[in-house]
């Protein structure tokens, strides 16, 4: 759980997995009309319908609410105020989201959105408490096992009927926000995890191509160390960056079926899971990490792992696409973006992992039961091509959930990441989010302890079953 949170901490709320991009079903956005069944254009109350058109025709600079569920019909035309909790509590995300809310209100005057940004760690503790009482009407949602637990509160709306006509635009990734085939949330961006590296430091150490295998990686680590460069920055204090390593090794060692069925059975008994731990041990034994990595945070300040990379104090970091948004504020080097490169997690010899597998996730929002149609319409608007295009341009998101908005990505490195994402056939949600919170947290703790030198590979693989039994 911690993971998602902090990840997005960059507060540009980035995240995203790519799936969307891939499957980008070209179903047109005209969706909602079907659900709110034709009533929409019935000339109900003052519908200024900005542009009044489908998203595709709206100009990028003035995104109009997409779909045809025109204004006044939402919530039966009655005025309603929706409270929106999101974690983009700093700019550019904060003002970008504020503008989205204002634009939506302009198009649907009876729907007022009261925007309340929270710091990421805050929102993580506030949401479970709010779900025990009165939850906000639109709130940050990372999907997966935690979502499945949250819906037990009965306070998260099943918005399937409002989203089915357009959710296809968001690709397969949107299934991460569904439970038992029912949509309980909508992602607005996707994430994928891989190695970010400093091209200048690689050059300095005489490394021409980024490593493709674990053995390459180990030999590059030796070269970097010989050149006096810290090979890898790791934010071990936050634990989820630790877990990225183990989970990526699992994706290289175990085929998709094994991973999915084992996670669902809450028991990682296949030997490949132990092998993943052994691989990780091999990496740890090469001592590639920055000094004090066990207490280094991932994203806060120049001393964080992202900060070390930003300032050229380390050559690599295993992180999601959000890294490109996290790094620039952590250094005075204005050229830092041009020095960054990306390569997928290296393969291991003899690994049975499914080719095209990757680790990722995304950010989204869930709706309360107060006015699910209005909330869903807002999420449709938020994830429409013009709005996501704007969000990308504002650097509020990195990889949009709507595949058709990916054209707006301008950074050459991010384009590479996007291309990688589009080639991914199996994007596994981070384990800590995929499983229930208790198991997810136990996984992060266990990998963190493993990297600190405690426990064996077998203990590590046994964590899931042990946590599930408690």
């Amino acid at each position: 759980m911690t993971s998602r949170t902090t990840r997005s901490l960059a507060q540009r709320s980035l995240k995203g997995r790519q799936l969307a991009a891939i499957s980008v079903v070209a179903v047109a956005a005209l969706g909602l009309a079907a659900c709110s069944s034709g009533k929409s254009n019935a000339g109900s109350s003052g519908t200024p319908t900005s542009g009044g058109s489908s998203s595709t025709t709206a100009s990028a600079s003035q995104p109009a609410p997409s779909g045809s569920s025109a204004g006044g019909d939402l919530n039966g035309g009655k005025p309603v105020t929706l409270t929106w909790w999101h974690n983009a509590n700093t700019d550019p995300g904060k003002s970008a989201f504020q503008k989205v809310a204002a634009d939506f209100h302009a198009a649907h005057p009876n729907v007022t959105i009261n925007v309340q940004p929270f710091q990421n760690e805050d929102i993580k503790t506030k949401i479970p408490i709010a779900l025990q009482g009165t939850p906000p009407d639109i709130f940050q949602q990372w999907g997966g096992g935690a979502l499945a637990q949250q819906i037990q509160s009965g306070k998260i709306a099943d918005i399937t009927q409002f989203t089915q006509s357009w959710i296809g635009d968001l690709g397969k990734g949107a299934a991460g926000w569904a439970v038992d085939g029912k949509q309980y949330g909508v992602p607005y961006d996707y994430h994928v995890v891989g190695f970010w590296y400093r091209t200048d430091l690689f050059q300095k150490a005489g490394i021409s191509d980024p490593p493709a295998t674990l053995d390459d990686l180990l030999s590059d680590i030796t070269k970097l160390k010989a050149a006096g460069i810290t090979p890898i920055a790791l934010g071990g204090k936050d634990k989820w960056p630790d877990a990225f390593y183990w989970e990526n090794f699992i994706l290289k060692e175990c085929p998709q079926d094994t991973i999915v069925s084992s996670l669902n059975a809450k028991k990682l008994s296949d030997p490949c899971f132990v092998k993943a731990g052994d691989d990780l041990k091999k990496l740890i034994d090469a001592k590639p990490f920055n000094s004090g990595f066990l207490s280094t945070s991932a994203q806060q300040g120049a001393g964080s792992s992202a900060g070390l990379l930003a300032n050229g104090k380390a050559a690599m970091e295993l992180q999601g696409d959000w890294e490109m948004a996290v790094i620039p504020p952590l250094t005075s080097d204005k050229q830092v973006a041009s020095k960054m490169g990306f390569f997928p997690f290296p393969s291991v010899s003899g690994g049975q992992g499914t080719p095209g597998a990757a680790l990722g996730g995304g950010d989204g929002f869930s709706c309360s039961t107060k006015a699910p149609d209005a909330c869903a319409a807002f999420l449709q608007y938020l994830t429409s091509v013009p709005v996501e295009t704007e969000l990308i341009k504002a650097n509020a998101i990195t990889i949009p959930s709507n595949g058709k908005a990916t054209d707006a990505i301008a950074d050459p490195t991010l384009k590479k990441v996007l291309a990688y994402l589009q080639g991914v056939t199996y994007n596994q949600l981070y384990f800590d989010q995929y499983m229930t919170a208790a198991i997810g947290n136990a996984i992060n703790d266990a990998v963190s302890n493993f990297i600190a030198g405690q426990g064996s590979s077998a203990d590590l693989a046994g964590t899931v079953a042990k946590a599930a039994s408690q």
């Binding site: 025990q132 207490s295 947290n441 600190a452």
Partner: protein, 333 residues
């Protein structure tokens, strides 16, 4: 606690000023209880004075405790109905979980170090600052300043100074200790946090002790001097014994603070690495909010409460008793 509740006035009782077992009651109390005629006024007064506090205490202390006890017998993730009763299962799990047991030990280590290191240091500095030295006011201010900072600010500030290659590393290299990963070394991290906690809280203890020192009449010191006592003898035989009540209060506050220690480790290390700096409170928040195990988290909270409560009761009974005499009308026998 029974002590206080039993003291609340029974207007009809005879013999104002003296309890049944004959000990003197506090002077204030004796004055108030001037006879049955004032009983109505007294009740009104008590209602007005105690009412709001009582409502707050019940609403924000007793009820939450009761609710936590109730939750703690369930396996509950915080969502949906409470239906999975596990009885003492959560308690059993906590008391067999090595991470939690280590957390308790960490709390006890912090408490012990406070007694052994903070207390003598605080007394020493307080004695020093109580003398007429140049810049005394300024020095007092400097000593007290860290306490004014919020724990979050303290934690972030020290995290920055303690990071590899940071200020503390330069300092420790200069004095020959050498650089260490102060927060990343599982053998050191708890002590690092203790030092930061001392830096933050010692100022408060020193001010408390200074206030105690000011309360010692200078005549006593003069009398000791006339009798030919050395400075050390005066301190040892006169000052310290009279400082007793203040020291006992300081110990009480320090112990409770150590048992509840949360913000510094939470912000600086999150309880890590490998749980080496976890405390009962960080463990409880981690389980409750990060793992969505609110039933289990409640059980841990109840255990933490019981530990603090039992300590407080015992300390009241055995250490603070003399000091509170006069403040309470009737002591527990």
């Amino acid at each position: 606690m029974s002590t206080q509740s039993r003291t609340t006035t029974r207007p009809g009782e005879p013999g104002p000023g003296v309890g049944p077992s004959g000990e003197a009651l506090g002077p204030d109390r004796a004055k108030v209880r001037s006879g049955p005629r004032s009983s109505l006024r007294q009740r009104t007064e008590l209602t007005i004075l105690l009412g709001p506090a009582l409502v707050l205490f019940v609403g924000f202390v007793l009820v939450p405790i009761a609710v936590a006890v109730y939750y703690s017998i369930y396996k509950w993730n915080g969502f949906g109905p409470l239906k999975d009763v596990v009885g003492f299962g959560n308690y059993r799990r906590a008391l067999t979980d090595t991470v939690f047991l280590h957390s308790i030990i960490h709390n006890v280590i912090i408490a012990g170090l406070s007694l052994l290191i903070q207390l003598p240091l605080s007394i020493g500095i307080a004695l020093l600052l109580n003398r007429k030295i140049r810049g005394r006011t300024f020095l007092r201010l400097v000593v007290f300043a860290p306490y004014v900072l919020s724990s979050a600010v303290t934690a972030v500030m020290w995290s920055l100074m303690l990071q590899p290659g940071g200020f503390i590393d330069h300092l420790s290299k200069a004095v020959g200790i050498g650089a260490h990963t102060w927060l990343a070394d599982i053998h050191i991290v708890l002590y690092t946090i203790f030092v930061v906690a001392s830096w933050q809280y010692m100022g408060f203890g020193i001010v408390l002790l200074l206030a105690g020192l000011q309360g010692i009449p200078s005549e006593l010191r003069e009398a000791a001097a006339l009798d030919g006592a050395t400075a050390w003898q005066t301190t040892r035989m006169v000052i310290l014994p009279l400082l007793g009540p203040t020291i006992r209060i300081w110990i009480f506050l320090s112990m409770i603070g150590s048992l509840q220690l949360f913000d510094l480790p939470w912000i600086m290390t999150g309880g890590g690495p490998a749980n080496a700096s976890s405390t009962m409170s960080t463990y409880l928040i981690d389980k409750g909010f990060h793992s969505y195990e609110f039933g289990y988290g409640s059980a841990v909270a109840v255990i933490l409460f019981v530990i603090c409560f039992v300590f407080a009761l015992l300390y009241q009974r055995f250490a603070l008793r003399r000091d509170t005499q006069g403040a309470l009308t009737r002591m527990v026998r």
